[in-house]
Symmetry: C2
Subunit: 766 residues, 2 copies
C-alpha cells in the first residue's frame, strides 16, 4: 500500500520527467533542422517553406535566437488559439471530434471532482473505521469509502453521488451527441462536391455465363435505377501489379542513394553486389545496375498492366457505381436490390483514399465464416494469451536456453549476458506482445472483411477496449490473468462477481493513481517529443533526400491512431467513473491527464498529424457507447461494493441506474446514431438542387472518371513512361483497380506511419 | 414417480377423451344446423350455401343419412388432400406457413426418434446404475440417461447424439427457411395490385406554424420524391366517432332482437326500461325507443364526422403516402428522409386491414419511454406474478373471506359452499390469470406502440414464449416459481445453473409425458370441437338473426391465434430437443402431437379460420429464432447434466455446439431475414414494368383513393343515411381515419374472435 508520501514522490518524479520531455521538445522544435518533424502538417498544406532558403548557413540548422528559448511553453496557448471552425478546415472533422473526447473528459469530471471533494471526502474522512483495524491501509484510504464503518447510514451519500454521477454523465453525453451530430451534418452539408457523394460500392455481383461483370452491372443498374444510373467502375485484381510498383519504388530509392553518394564523392563510382542484401554475389557498378533493374521492372509492369486490363478473370465481383445525383446514390445505398440479400450488396462508398482494396472481393458466406473465426480467435486471444507468453517466458530463462541450445552454454554463462537474460528476457515476451497487439487486432479486423480503413480502425478499437478492460483494468483490480478471471466468472454466481470486484476496487486506488501518472502524464509528454519520427527523418534526410519532393516524402506526419489511442482514453473514463464514488482522490490525477492530453493533441493535430482519411466523425457512436459501458460497470461495481458493506438496502435503489443508463443508450442510439450511418434524402436533394442551379452544365461523368482508381495507378502518374491513365478511352467504362488481399501483414504499419509509399496515402498528394 | 403402467393409464384416458371429442365433432359437423360453425370459411368465400334451401324441413337441422355417420373420420384425409398452392390461394400464406411449423416438428423429430431408439435406448437400457440404488425410480428411467453409471464411457453416445441432433435440426431449419423465403417471394410476386404495395406510412410529421400537416406532407414529398409522389391521406383522430358507431351498432342489435320478438309474438309489443341494463327506469315501447335512440346517435355521428373533417386539431401527425410506382414506395420505405431520425419516419404501410389505428400518433420519445416501461413491467410480470396471485389466494380461503366480509359468515359455513371455496377458489385466481395472460401481453404490446396487428401478435408471441419458458418449462423442471428461480440464478454461478437444471431434467420426463398428452392430445382434439363458437352461434342465431347477412355476422370463424398458439408449439420443440438425448421415451408422444395437430389445424384452416390479415409469413424469422433458442438451451442443459455425471471431458466438446448454433442463427438472419423485412427494388421494378406494359392507362390515383380508410367509415357504407364516403370530393386529398388509443382494454378480445363489430374485421367483408 502506497502512502500519501509515496504518491508524492511518484508524482514529483513523473512531473519532472514530463517537464524534461517538454523542455526537450521546446528546444528541438525551435531548431530549423527539425522543422519538418514538428510542423509537417503545414508543409503538406503548402503553408510553410523550408527555413533553409534564407539566413546564414548555420541558422539553417540551429536556432541562435536566445529570446525564443525563453518562451519555451508558448506552444500551449498557441495550440488552444485556433477556433473550432478553422480547425475543422485545417485538420478535418475526425480530428476535431477526437479532441472533443478529451474535452468531454473534462466536462464530466470537473463538476464530479468538485462535488466529490465537497461531499464525499468529508463524509469519508470523518470516520475512523480503519483506525482500529489491523488491515494495512494508507492515508489515502482515509479519504475513500473504506473508512466508512460497516452498515453506516453514511453510504446514502455514496448512493446519492452515484445518481448525481449518472445523471451528469448522461447529460453531458446527450449534449455532446447533439453537438457532434450537428457538427457532422454541417460538415457534410458544407462539403464541396466529392466522388463518394455520388458513388455506391456494390459487392457480391453474381456470376453470369453470358455477360461479363461490367456488362452485368451496367444492365442491372440501367434496369433498376433507370433515371439515376450514370457510370460504373469494375474492380480488377491488380495484385501482382501492386507488388511490382512497390519493388520498383525500392530500387528507385537505392538508385537515389548511390547517385547521391557519387555526387558527394565523384572520384569513386559506387559499387554493389547483386546477391542477397548486397553482400554476396558479383560486384557491379551500382548506378548502372539499379538503372537497368528499374527499366526491367518497368517493362514487366507495363505488360502486367495490359494483362490485367484484358483478362476477364482479373475482374473481381465488385464495382463502384456512380449516379447522376446524390439522391440516386443515397437511395441505392440504403435499399436492398434483389430478393437474395447475399448478392448485389450496396453500401455508401467510402472516400477513395479510405477504401481498403484488398477486402472488396470476399463473398458473403466467407464473410460470416470469417466473423465466426475471428470471434472465437479474439475470445482466446483475450483470455488465453498468457499461455503462449508463459511458455515463451519459460524458454527464455537461463536453464531453458541451455537445454534448448546447449552449444550456447559457454556464451550465456558470461556474467553480463547472464544478468541480461535473467533480468530482461522473461519480461520482453510480454512487452513485445503488448506492442504488437494493436497490429494483431488490426490484422483480425482486416481478416473479418471490412472494406474501409476507418471501419477497420473502429473495429480494432473496440477489440482493444475489451482487451484493456479485462487484462488491464480487471486484471489489476482482482490481480489475475484474464484466464484466471474467466474461471472466477464461470464458478461464481452472478451477484458475487460485482461484489468480488467491487471489494477490491478501493484497495487498488493507489496503483491506478501511479498508472495514470506514468501512462497518462509522462506518456503524453513523450508523445509530443516524436522521438521515432525525429530519428527516421534525419536518417532519410541524410541518405536519400535530393529534391524537395524527396524531403517531403521523408516526413512522417503520422495520424491519430484511433484504434489504439481511443481505447486508452476510455480506460481513464472507466477509472474516473468507477473511483468517483469510491476514492475521489483519484479524480484530480485524471483531470490533469485530460487537460494535458487535450493541449498536447490539439498541438499535434494542428502542427503534425496528417489524417489518412476523413470519415466525418463516424466513430462517435462507438466512443459514446464505450463511455456508457464504463458508466454501467461503475454502477454495478458500486452496487457490489455497497452490498458487502452491510448496506444491502441500496441494491434495488442502485439497480435502477443501470436500467436507466441502458435505456438512455438505446434512446441515443435510435435518436442520433442514424445521422452517423445513413444518408438522409432531404439533405441529398437539397445539395443536388443547389448544385444544379449553380452549375447546370457540370460534366459529372468526366468529374467522376478515375476517382475510384487504385493508388497504384495514381502513383504511376509521376513517371510518365509507364502511365496507364494518359489514355482516357478505356477509363470511361473500365478502370483498373486492384484487389484481393496481398499485403495484409505489412499494411497496418505502412498505412499508418508511412506517408511515402503506402497504399492509402498517395491520393491526397495528387 | 410415475411407472410405465401409470403412463399407460394416463395415455388410455387421454386417447379416450380425444376420441370422444373427435366422435362428438364427427356427429355435430354432419348436422346441417351446425354447418356455419364448422365450415364458416366456405361461406365467407361464397362457395357454400345454406343447406336450408333444399330438402325436407327436418333435414334442415338434422342429418338423417346413416351412411355419412359411418365415415366419421373421413375429414382427416380430406384435410390432407388440398395441395399447398391451392391452400395458399384458399387461406393465405400465413396459414400455410403456420401449418409448416407442425411439419417441421415432424421433420425434425421423426429421424431423431428413430436414431434415439436405435442408439440411445439400447445404450441406456443395458446398464444397471439404478438397480442397486435407493433412489426412487420408474421403469421409464431405465430407458433414460439416469441408468448410465457415473463416469461411464457410454456418455460418448449421448454426446454424439447431441451433435447429430444439432446438425439435423439446423439442416431442417436451413432447408425450411429457404423454402419459406421462396414461398414468400413467389407469393409477393404473384399477388395482384394491392394498395399497400404503393403506400408508405409516415409517422412523426413535425409541426409547422405556417402549414397544416396535410400541406406539409404534400410539400415534403413533392420536394424530396418529385418523380414518384402520387397522393397522401392524413390520419384523423376519430376517437369519439368510433365510439359512436360502436354504440349505434349495439342499439341496432337490440332493435333487431325486439323486432324479431315482436314478429314471433305479434300480440304483445315488447317493452324495455330506459335505465341501467334495461332493469331500472321507466318502461317504454322497446322498438320505438331503440329506433329513436339510433336516430339520435346517427345525428350525433354525422355531426362528429363533419367536425373531425373540419377541425385541424383532429389531424394527428401521421399520413399514408402513396407513390406512382412500387419502386418509389420501396425507396421511400427503406430510406431515411431527414437528418433528424425522429421525424418523418417512413415504413412500408401494413395492409389496410392489418393497421392498428390507435397507435399511429405516438411521438418518438414517448415510444422509447413506453418500451422501457413495458420491458420493466414484463420483467416483473414474468418473475413476480406469483406475488399478487398468492395474495388473492390467501384472501380466497375460508378464513380470509370470513375476516374480510364477516356478514358472509353464515353463508360460507354451509357445507356445499364451504367445500366449493376450499376446493376451488384458491386455484381459480391462477387459472383466471393464465387465461387472461395472452390479453395482458397483447395489451403490453399495444402500449409499446406497434402499428399493425401482425406485429402486435408477433411481439406478444415472443413475450408469451419467455413466460412459458420460465414459468412452465423451468418452473416444472426445478419446481419453483420464477421468483424463486430468479434468486437461484442470481446466487448460483454461471456453470452451476445448467448443472442444477440439467440434473432435474431426467426426473421430470414422466411429468412432461403427461403434460404432452393432456395439453397436446386432448387439447388439440378439443380445438376441433369449437364448443364456444358453437354455443354462441346458436344463441345469436336464435335471438338476432333475421336476414342472411345477420347470419353471416353471427358466424365466428376465428383465426389462428399466433400470439398464444405458436409459443405453445415452441414448448413442444423445447421438450423434444431437451429430452432427445436424455429420455428418448418422450419423443413418440411429441411426434403424435405434431402429427395430430397438423391434421387438425389443416382442417380448421381449410374449413373454419378466417385470417384477419395477411402478412406473407412475416412471423417466420421469430419462429426460426425460437427453435434455435430451444436447441441452444437443450445443448447447455445436456452439458450441465453430463458434467454432473463424471464426464467433464465432454464440456469443451459440447461447448462447440452452442457457438456453432449461434453462428448458424446469425448466418440465417443475415442470409434470409431481409427477405421478410425489406422490399427489394428489383422485384418492385419488375412488377411495375409488367403492369405498365399490361395496363398503360390504369388510374392508380382513383384506385388508391380511400384504400386507407378507417373501418369505421367503411362500415358506414351499409347504412346509406350516414355515409361519408359517397362524396368523393374531399377524399382525393383528405380522408378521415381516426386514431389515438381509445379502446385498448377491449380490443384484444374483440379483434380476435369477434368478427362482427371489431375494428379490424370489417374491411374484408366490404
Amino acid at each position: 500500500m502506497a502512502t500519501l508520501s509515496d504518491i508524492g514522490v511518484s508524482a514529483a518524479f513523473n512531473v519532472l520527467t514530463a517537464l524534461a520531455f517538454l523542455l526537450a521538445f521546446a528546444f528541438l522544435r525551435l531548431q530549423p533542422i527539425n522543422d519538418r518533424v514538428y510542423f509537417p502538417k503545414w508543409y503538406l498544406r503548402g503553408m510553410r517553406d523550408d527555413p533553409i532558403t534564407s539566413g546564414a548557413a548555420v541558422q539553417k540548422f540551429v536556432n541562435l535566437d536566445a529570446r525564443s528559448y525563453l518562451k519555451f511553453l508558448n506552444w500551449m496557448p498557441a495550440a488552444l488559439k485556433m477556433p473550432q471552425d478553422e480547425l475543422i478546415n485545417h485538420a478535418g472533422l475526425d480530428s476535431v471530434v477526437y479532441l472533443r473526447i478529451y474535452l468531454i473528459g473534462l466536462k464530466i469530471f470537473v463538476p464530479i471532482t468538485v462535488l466529490a471533494f465537497a461531499v464525499l471526502v468529508p463524509v469519508n474522512w470523518t470516520n475512523n473505521a480503519l483506525e482500529g483495524t489491523t488491515v494495512v491501509h494508507s492515508n489515502i484510504d482515509n479519504l475513500s469509502i473504506s473508512n466508512v464503518p460497516y452498515g453506516s447510514k453514511r453510504f446514502i451519500a455514496h448512493m446519492a453521488m452515484a445518481y448525481a454521477i449518472t445523471f451528469w454523465t448522461c447529460y453531458v453525453l446527450l449534449k455532446e451527441y447533439q453537438i457532434i451530430a450537428k457538427l457532422r451534418l454541417r460538415f457534410l452539408a458544407s462539403e464541396k462536391r466529392r466522388p463518394d457523394q455520388f458513388t455506391v460500392l456494390v459487392r457480391n455481383i453474381p456470376q453470369d455465363p453470358d455477360e461479363s461483370i461490367s456488362e452485368l452491372t451496367e444492365h442491372f443498374f440501367l434496369v433498376n435505377h433507370p433515371d439515376h444510373y450514370l457510370r460504373h467502375q469494375v474492380v480488377y485484381n491488380a495484385n501482382k501489379l501492386s507488388d511490382l510498383v512497390e519493388k520498383k519504388k525500392k530500387m528507385q530509392n537505392w538508385l537515389d542513394y548511390y547517385r547521391l553518394k557519387f555526387e558527394r564523392n565523384p572520384s569513386e563510382r559506387p559499387t554493389t553486389k547483386t546477391g542477397f542484401l548486397g553482400c554476396f554475389g558479383s560486384k557491379v557498378d551500382a548506378i548502372d545496375y539499379y538503372k537497368s533493374e528499374i527499366e526491367k521492372i518497368g517493362k514487366e509492369e507495363a505488360e502486367e498492366r495490359k494483362k490485367v486490363m484484358k483478362d476477364p478473370k482479373s475482374v473481381v465481383p465488385a464495382a463502384f457505381v456512380s449516379f447522376r445525383s446524390r439522391w440516386g446514390a443515397a437511395v441505392c445505398a440504403q435499399t436492398q436490390q434483389t430478393s437474395n440479400p447475399t448478392v448485389w450488396l450496396t453500401e455508401w462508398a467510402p472516400e477513395p483514399r479510405d477504401v481498403y482494396w484488398n477486402n472488396l472481393s470476399i463473398p458473403f458466406v466467407s464473410l460470416t465464416v470469417r466473423r465466426l473465426i475471428i470471434a472465437v480467435a479474439f475470445f482466446f486471444l483475450n483470455f488465453f494469451y498468457v499461455i503462449p507468453i508463459a511458455f515463451v517466458q519459460s524458454l527464455a530463462n537461463l536453464e531453458g536456453i541451455e537445454k534448448a541450445l546447449p552449444f550456447l552454454k559457454p556464451l550465456v554463462e558470461l556474467p553480463l549476458i547472464k544478468s541480461f537474460i535473467q533480468g530482461f528476457l522473461p519480461g520482453i515476451a510480454l512487452k513485445i506482445f503488448l506492442i504488437v497487439l494493436p497490429m494483431i487486432l488490426m490484422f483480425m479486423s482486416k481478416f473479418e472483411g471490412l472494406i474501409s480503413h476507418s471501419s477497420l480502425e473502429r473495429r480494432s478499437a473496440s477489440k482493444y477496449y475489451i482487451f484493456l478492460f479485462f487484462n488491464v483494468f480487471l486484471g489489476s483490480v482482482i490481480t489475475g490473468s484474464a484466464l484466471e478471471q474467466l474461471k472466477t466468472y464461470i464458478h461464481t454466481s452472478a451477484n458475487e462477481i460485482p461484489k468480488i470486484i467491487g471489494m477490491s476496487i478501493p484497495m487498488k486506488a493507489t496503483f491506478f493513481i501511479t498508472y495514470v501518472m506514468v501512462d497518462g502524464w509522462t506518456g503524453i509528454a513523450g508523445e509530443i517529443l516524436r522521438v521515432k519520427p525525429l530519428i527516421f527523418y534525419h536518417i532519410k534526410n541524410f541518405f536519400l533526400v535530393k529534391t524537395e519532393k524527396d524531403r517531403e516524402e521523408a516526413m512522417d506526419p503520422g495520424s491519430i491512431c484511433f484504434d489504439s489511442c481511443e481505447p486508452r482514453i476510455q480506460l481513464y473514463f472507466l477509472l474516473g467513473l468507477v473511483y468517483a464514488a469510491v476514492t475521489p482522490f483519484l479524480l484530480p490525477f485524471i483531470l490533469v491527464f485530460f487537460g494535458f492530453a487535450y493541449v498536447v493533441y490539439r498541438h499535434q493535430i494542428i502542427n503534425v498529424y496528417n489524417q489518412q482519411y476523413e470519415s466525418g466523425a463516424q466513430f462517435w457512436p462507438s466512443v459514446h457507447g464505450r463511455i456508457i459501458t464504463a458508466l454501467i460497470i461503475s454502477q454495478l461495481l458500486l452496487l457490489g461494493l455497497l452490498s458487502t458493506k452491510g448496506f444491502e438496502e441500496s441494491t434495488p435503489v442502485l439497480l435502477v441506474l443501470p436500467v436507466l443508463t441502458f435505456w438512455f443508450f438505446k434512446y441515443c442510439k435510435n435518436r442520433y446514431e442514424p445521422a452517423f450511418v445513413r444518408n438522409p434524402l432531404q439533405e441529398a436533394m437539397r445539395k443536388d438542387t443547389l448544385e444544379r442551379a449553380r452549375e447546370p452544365n457540370f460534366d459529372l461523368k468526366t468529374y467522376l472518371a478515375g476517382s475510384y482508381l487504385h493508388p497504384v495507378f495514381k502513383a504511376s502518374d509521376d513517371d510518365d513512361k509507364y502511365s496507364a491513365v494518359d489514355d482516357d478511352g478505356w477509363m470511361d467504362e473500365e478502370v483498373i483497380v486492384p484487389t484481393k488481399r496481398h499485403s495484409r501483414r505489412t499494411t497496418p504499419a505502412q498505412s499508418k506511419y508511412d506517408g511515402s509509399d503506402g497504399l492509402s496515402s498517395v491520393p491526397e498528394k495528387s
